[in-house]
């Protein structure tokens, strides 16, 4: 096993044995997210107290299913849950979502009923058409509820179809229809969308990334990543501190007395900071997905973004260790850095800072990370994230380069 991984995994193990560090790395972000979520009302939606979700319904289907779905949203049972607006034009409905006026648009196209229920005269279903749920990713819970209602409706329709199929078989068994009629009946039952998954009848789309107006962002969508990155900065400062701790406690010298180069030891320590940071971010993301029902976006893109954010942050941790003289100096400066970066990087309030402070915020992984997570929440792909990822890795290489130069000048890892 490479020395880099040996040192890195050792650091990961040591860090996860430290209860105080674990509290700050994992528990504190959750508590803060929870607290700020309560203050900003971000939990009203995710704790089951969801109500008056603004939804626009466009029903261009003249059949019974379209009418039923539209009526479902306006039904007495869902009256408290949704604040429904009827809109004849799909484009106008999408615009309402883009502008943040409504959480989702349910677009029922013409021919929806005909694509599912065979025509009584011809016995044929029409071509497949899909109900579209156009969502505002900034309001993941609200728009998710609207989507869930549509999915449930489609599921019931499918159940009814399958029930009908069973009924035909029973009619055959009882002699109510003749075997000669079976091919005709089967063709009728299997034609069209029958046998396809419910999801095929629903198309879920998120708002475009270049939506014209500012959306009303669900506080949770920026609070959770913001807090995760705030405490990531603290974690990387702990990692940087561990280099000076190891120097003080003699384990750094002992590592250098083994057949290991100074550059390997430094890289291994950097790997350690990196592993711990990635583990922390992924634990927080998975846990917030489960506990807060937060949709972070495409999992692969989220993972790549996390790798990049932690790289940028690890660069800062290493630089901090290089310039500091004592472990306690790293702790105090690290805490200040975490708060400052969180503040100017948008971890506390989301959005983008403009002006000189906005330009300055680009030195923080928080700012780039916040942008990246916002893009993913809007439904952007990994390709769209490339500028953010590139910026974070450039930040990493520049900071690590400077740190290595300082370490060399100090002669800390000379052999």
């Amino acid at each position: 096993m490479s020395k880099l991984f040996i040192i890195g995994f050792k650091d990961l193990r040591v860090m996860f044995r430290d209860r105080a560090a674990l509290i700050l790395m994992l528990a504190a972000p959750f508590v803060l997210t929870l607290g700020l979520g309560l203050v900003t009302g971000g939990f009203n939606q995710s704790t089951g107290a969801v109500s008056n979700i603004p939804v626009v319904v466009v029903n261009n289907d003249d059949g019974m299913l379209g009418q039923s779905l539209a009526n479902l949203f306006a039904s007495a049972e869902l009256n408290d849950l949704f604040d429904v607006t009827r809109e004849p034009d799909a484009a106008a409905a999408r615009r309402l979502v883009d502008e943040g006026t409504t959480a989702a648009a349910v677009l029922i196209p013409a021919g929806f009923t005909g694509s599912i229920i065979p025509d009584s005269q011809t016995g044929q279903s029409g071509d497949l058409v899909r109900v579209e749920v156009y969502r505002d990713p900034g309001r993941p819970v609200s728009s998710g509820v609207a989507q869930a209602v549509v999915e449930s409706f489609i599921s019931q329709v499918e159940t009814g179809r399958i029930g009908g199929q069973i009924a035909v078989e029973q009619l055959l068994a009882s002699g109510a229809i003749l075997p000669a009629d079976i091919p005709q009946v089967v063709q009728t039952m299997s034609h069209g969308p029958a046998g396809q998954a419910d999801r095929d009848i629903i198309q879920v789309r998120n708002t475009a990334t270049d939506a014209a107006g500012p959306n009303e962002i669900d506080p949770m969508a920026f609070l959770a990543p913001g807090m995760a990155m705030l405490f990531l900065m603290y974690t990387v400062s702990l990692g940087g501190r561990s280099i000076l701790d190891e120097r003080r406690e003699g384990t750094l010298a002992r590592m250098l007395s083994t057949p290991t180069r100074g550059s390997q030891v430094l890289t291994g320590k950097t790997f350690g900071i990196y592993f711990v940071g990635v583990a922390q971010m992924m634990i927080l993301i998975v846990a917030s997905s489960l506990l807060f029902r937060l949709d972070w976006g495409d999992p692969l893109a989220v993972f790549v973004l996390v790798l990049s954010i932690v790289a940028g942050a690890a660069g800062w941790g290493l630089l901090l260790a290089a310039v500091a003289k004592t472990p306690s100096q790293v702790s105090s400066v690290g805490m200040a850095m975490a708060l400052l970066f969180g503040l100017i990087g948008g971890s506390f309030f989301g959005g983008t800072i403009t002006g000189p402070l906005g330009t300055l915020s680009k030195i923080t992984p928080n700012s780039w990370g916040q942008d990246g997570f916002a893009m993913l929440a809007r439904g952007d792909s990994l390709v769209d994230l490339l500028p953010v990822i590139a910026a974070l890795w450039i930040m990493c290489f520049v900071l690590v380069g400077v740190a290595v130069a300082i370490f060399n000048r100090k002669g800390m890892l000379q052999r």
């Binding site: 096993m1 020395k3 040996i6 040192i7 050792k10 193990r13 040591v14 044995r17 430290d18 406690e249 003699g250 384990t251 010298a253 002992r254 590592m255 250098l256 007395s257 083994t258 057949p259 290991t260 180069r261 000379q414 052999r415």
Partner: protein, 314 residues
């Protein structure tokens, strides 16, 4: 046959301060070679240069035929290092510590597990291997600290003051371990400021002070430096002006040298029996009451006293 260690005119400066000043010596295979000297004498700096942690300002040394200045990685494969401080990870168990350090020495797989078990047995901590090091006593930590240095079966073991700050039982255990390792064929470079340890363990002793190697040889060779002199140690009361009394005692014709340490005065004398009455008499004349007297035959402490005019623990 070439020596296992050849130190040639080694110098190390920190700014204007010269920590090691042009020292040269050799260590032969199978020896226990002790560097004896007070704190700050340059022992740790010397070991740091020989273990490739510090680059010499001048001079060079070869270890196992490899230069510490140009072939550090090869040197590191020959040596095991037991540092003065306990260089372990407190939050890891003894087993995890040994596995980590074994991997750092390039070991792995079943061979590493086997070797870790052997070392745990050797240091007497096999039954507590899965406990975190932070739960260990100081002596137990020292034993694991030594165990790490033995993992890869080095030809040469550097032990830098391994008994500092531990209880007598653990100290005894460590000294016995060093003797056993040497009996098994391991060469040891041992630094200490305890004269008794150097006397008990060493094949040869180098006495170092202010960065200079001021004497080198077997114990017999070194004690010859002070001739057949005895050491007369006078214990005085708290508050006594030992420096003043030492000045007074130096005027006696029977006293060759007088040095002070805490509430003691050490007198180098040709014959302790002969020098004792006048020394006591002089003390009483000067108004001091001697609480007790020790008479010591020539030893390394006396050698150091003779060469530097100071006690080892000054």
């Amino acid at each position: 046959m070439a020596s296992l260690v050849e130190v040639k005119n080694l110098v190390r400066k920190f700014g204007d301060n010269t920590a090691v000043a042009d020292i040269s010596f050799t260590i032969e295979e199978g020896e226990v070679f002790s560097l004896l000297g007070p704190n700050g004498a340059g022992k740790t700096t010397t070991i740091s240069m020989l273990s490739c942690l510090l680059e010499p300002t001048a001079g060079d040394a070869s270890v196992g035929g490899f230069s510490v200045t140009s072939q550090p990685l090869q040197v590191k494969n020959v040596i095991g290092v037991v540092p003065q401080e306990i260089a372990l990870y407190d939050d890891l168990t003894a087993l995890e510590n040994l596995m980590f350090w074994g991997r750092m020495y390039g070991m792995g797989g079943a061979a590493l597990k086997q070797r870790v078990s052997e070392v745990l047995e050797q240091v007497g901590l096999a039954d507590r291997a899965k406990e975190r090091v932070k739960t260990y006593s100081g002596g137990m930590k020292r034993r694991i600290n030594i165990g790490v240095g033995l993992l890869h079966r080095p030809r040469l073991l550097f032990m830098d003051e391994p008994t500092v700050g531990i209880d007598p039982q653990s100290r005894r255990n460590i000294l016995d371990s060093v003797k056993e390792l040497n009996r098994q064929g391991m060469t040891v470079l041992y630094t200490t400021h305890y004269m008794e340890e150097a006397e008990e363990l060493s094949t040869r002793v180098g006495i170092i002070d202010h960065g200079k190697l001021i004497a080198l040889g077997t114990q017999r060779e070194l004690t010859k430096l002070v001739g057949e002199m005895d050491t007369l140690r006078l214990h005085l009361n708290d508050g006594d002006d030992v420096a003043s009394l030492a000045d007074g005692l130096r005027s006696l014709p029977e006293v060759i040298q007088a040095t002070t340490l805490d509430h003691q005065i050490a007198l180098i004398v040709p014959d302790a029996q002969e020098a004792l009455p006048p020394a006591l008499s002089k003390s009483m004349d000067l108004g001091y009451k001697v609480r007790s007297v020790d008479i010591e035959e020539p030893n390394l402490e006396a050698v150091f006293l003779h060469l530097t005019g100071r006690a080892l623990r000054d």
